[in-house]
Symmetry: C2
Subunit: 158 residues, 2 copies
DNA sequence: TTGATAATGAAAATCGTTTTCAATAAGGAG
DNA sequence: CTCCTTATTGAAAACGATTTTCATTATCAA
């Protein structure tokens, strides 16, 4: 198959070799799913999506891979309060640094990425201060806003 | 028992009457536990603590009460990533507005309440902007920092 | 091509949390 | 103070997301 040597070998391949990990079919499939969506997928969402192409891949492997990817820093794991974890690619073409607005009415999650200047300013100061005050090295942060989206606000008013 | 009329009747009593809720022994016990600690208690922690004084109070009731208190806004529910929810009184004598530093090494959680000026500034702008941009009414926010505490950093270096 | 071993899948186990349902108790009415 | 309505409770069972077990398979360095 000339010219196909690199099919299925995108930007993340090098990451695995480094850690002594193997780049397997299920792992590639899971990364593919994550890199193609901007939704906030649960393990089962990912499993179902992978299952369309690779019916033999089990849910267990999805969980294991997600754990590994999170450890490697390639994905983020979120808790939006509905009892199941959600996953997002932490880098790559599609993903920009962002946070989440969570509607407590309908559980809808809105990504937002504005106000990053203010945020950066705040974080820079906070992280520096915290590092000194508590001798704590900050690696990452989580910011989430809770409230009511337009629809739920109207529903409540009615 | 003269003089004991108000024992077990602290500041939160009024809150229940208003909502049509009953102020029961288990609820008081749970609130007492929460108001006496500055730790981040899980449902089971609270259950065990309540159990010392009221052995008949069940874990189910603890969960139900915590859910109610969270709904009423009297407590906050946190997820520090260890698979069990943690609870904190949201107001009262002991509690000031604060956030959490979570050590990903040993799972220790440090409260911090400094840098609130910067935070307030950031939040004010963010909330105003988000409200306008997404027609979203922000009710609350969650900020958590992840990293390594001094001990885990030293352990890692060794 | 081969071998060591990392990775996998199916099923069972785990474990925090929720539901069920009959029994109990809070607190307003009388 | 007593009675009555019904919110609340406790024990046990159910639930559901995630993890573990263990025998089998597949990756990839030599």
């Amino acid at each position: 198959m000339p010219g196909r040597r690199n099919v299925g070998s995108p930007w993340w391949h090098g990451r695995f070799r480094g850690g002594g990990y193997r780049l397997t079919v299920p792992r590639q499939a899971i990364l593919n799913v994550l890199s193609r969506t901007s939704r906030h997928l649960s393990a089962e969402d990912i499993y179902l999506e992978v299952h369309k192409v690779h019916p033999h891949v089990g849910l267990t492997t999805v969980y294991r891979t997600l754990e590994l990817l999170a450890e490697m820093g390639m994905i983020f794991k979120f808790d939006f309060g509905d009892g199941r974890a959600r996953y997002e690619l932490s880098e790559g073409p599609k993903s920009a640094h962002h946070h989440h607005l969570i509607c407590t009415g309908c559980r809808r999650v809105i990504d937002y990425s504005g106000f990053m200047d203010e945020e950066l300013e705040f974080l820079k100061r906070a992280e520096k201060g915290l590092a000194k005050k508590y001798d704590f090295e900050i690696k990452s942060h989580l910011i989430q806003f809770y409230g009511l989206c337009d629809k739920c606000r109207k529903k409540k008013a009615a």
